[in-house]
Symmetry: C2
Subunit: 341 residues, 2 copies
DNA sequence: ACTCATCTCAGTACCGGTATCGGTACCAGT
DNA sequence: ACTGGTACCGATACCGGTACTGAGATGAGT
């Protein structure tokens, strides 16, 4: 096995010192044009591609941005990741992703592991980390941006929206449309604290109007279209009087829509199905579901830009809470909020 | 800003040497039980979490596995990533993801960047890298597993299936069902070489039966349900005689199904829609599309396991081509291949 | 001619760990 | 008591870069 090329090899091939080679490759000044060319050429010739390990260790800084998300199976998070990736493109920083499976223990473990790579910054999903994890983040001494939520107290800064308010607002909108007999279907509620907040906001709004939830079904599994189908079938079988179902997200609502299409139940006339996220896919659906549209890419981009800002200004800007309000789309035929029926 | 804790701090706190602390934390033998406890406790007390940079540099090995995928917006790749993550869980290895956007230049760049972190192994999507990228991989001296394809010559090893055969096989199956008037709709064909291979296999099979493609529409954008809708509307408007449409993937086929539901076109009776991947979501659809089901998670897991194997045996096992044949599901009412009509 | 600033380059000391190797303590066997 | 083996521990030399410091060369100013 041939030995890996090092900077010394490049320097030797170019006939300069290690130091000059290092500077030339990094594009620093204080190197003559002639030597820059010689070094660049030598590096290309012998196929040298650097060693971030050594560089980062030596310079006590790295170009890694850690990004921690709870899941990959919900397309929302890959979209956030795309946003981060795009915002970081061309900046010299590179995202590193970690997945927690909605498990706080795993989250702590992943964060420790990431911190041990001395990242330049961290983007973490959610505001509800346990104390030990919070401490870990607070002591890291690097910019931390928490995303997808703003109901709570960020370690440092956050970009997101209020899930409580999102649940509240869509309830208000549905009530304004004349809906009165509500059901709820959710997945993974014990771990997905943000879904739980939406549900909380939703129920609070109902209560404020003196409306009681008629029925609720949940499943511990991760949300999926198929489960949404099943839960909807259950709900409508036991409570055929429902005129609106709120789901913990769009995947479930989509399953609900598909069930209704197959069962010949008219949506949204007889029953309104309301989800959360505003997935692109629902644009293509044969039927309309209500939803709160969130801007995932933008949140990812904004978070990455905040990190870059902090890094540029060489200080951690605390307390910057950027709120990106979701927009409600009811997908109903009636315009301007006029009541149906 | 308080200084980061180092191993020396731990050693001092535990009253042992740096070396003993290092060994204790890594669980090596040659350390007394008492000292292991002291060091562990000291590390916990002062909140030490190690420095992978220094560790990897010093030991000339790292616990990173690079994973390069073309896209995050196609749920298939996050699923592959999940498979890799799961297979790596508890092994001490950590995946690092990169996204190429189907761009070979970006792919090369990302691979260089990854290699500069001295990963223990690499998982790369596809077999059709340009020569310079191939060279980069071949010279890396670490196990490389290429995934999602087996039509071609792997640098080292691969886990996947033949897209050409997949296209061919589903064409055969559809012809056996009595379909004769075929259309094709595809996205991103100029960059997605695997989709192009499926199309090639599909057309070859048609030709072998003396069948000519009646119509074809493509779009340069990434595939999505909405675009699938549009392309299908175009195809069926200009060629209402089609009795089968083959799509470059399930996203498009789903859009096609939704269009047909809205347009009152019966699927699969009047027109069969065939996609590729076997997404979980189609299980929930109000209607059936044909597809080739691929096992993404399993491919990710298998690739990760192959890397771990190579690492354990301390040699790179070349030429291991694992083929995971997709299974065709036509979603038709007729059983046993009896012709329709 | 001499001083001084500027540009270029090289030497040295790290960064924070780990591999290696040489030692010390302790015990069993003879 | 002496030897040999085993368990444990620490000093030292790195890994491959970069920060820092200082030196030589060159040119301008006087």
């Amino acid at each position: 096995m041939k030995k890996r090329k090092t900077l010394k090899d490049v320097a030797a091939a170019a006939g300069v010192s290690k130091m000059t080679a290092s500077r030339a490759l990094r594009g620093e000044k204080d190197v003559s044009r002639a030597n820059v060319d010689k070094v660049r050429q030598a590096a290309r010739d012998i196929g040298y591609y650097g060693n971030h390990l050594a560089a980062s260790l030596s310079s006590a800084r790295s170009d890694l941005i850690g990004v921690v998300v709870p899941s990959l199976s919900n397309i929302v998070f890959p979209q956030v990741m795309s946003g981060v990736t795009d915002a970081l493109a061309g900046t010299g920083f590179q995202p590193v992703f970690g997945v927690t499976d909605y498990d706080t223990g795993k989250e702590n473990e992943i964060l420790r592991s990431m911190l041990s790579w001395r990242p330049a910054g961290l983007i973490v999903t959610g505001l509800d980390q346990p104390d030990d994890t919070r401490m870990l983040l607070a002591d890291a001494g690097i910019p931390i941006v928490q995303i997808m939520d703003c109901d709570g107290d960020p370690v440092d800064a956050c970009v997101g929206f209020s899930h409580t308010k999102a649940g509240h607002d869509i309830a208000e909108a549905l009530i304004a449309e004349g809906r009165t007999r509500f059901g709820y279907a959710g997945c993974n509620m014990h771990k997905d604290t943000r879904a739980a907040k939406r549900k909380k906001g939703f129920l609070e709004a109902l209560k404020a109007h003196g409306i009681e939830l008629k029925a609720m079904v949940t499943d511990v599994a991760l949300s999926s279209v198929v489960i949404g189908r099943d839960l909807t079938a259950q709900l409508l079988a036991s409570h055929p009087e429902l005129d609106c179902i709120y789901y913990s997200n769009d995947d479930l609502a989509a399953g609900g829509l598909f069930h209704c299409i197959d069962a010949g139940i008219s949506v949204p006339e007889r029953v309104v199905l309301a989800g959360f996220n505003g997935l692109d896919i629902i644009e293509g659906f044969p039927g309309k579901i209500a939803t709160s549209r969130t801007s995932r890419r933008e949140i990812g981009e904004a978070a990455a830009k905040m990190i870059l800002d902090s890094l540029k200004n060489d200080k951690i800007e605390s307390g910057r809470n950027v709120v990106v309000q979701p927009t409600i789309s009811l997908g109903l035929l009636s315009k301007g909020g006029q009541a149906v029926g």
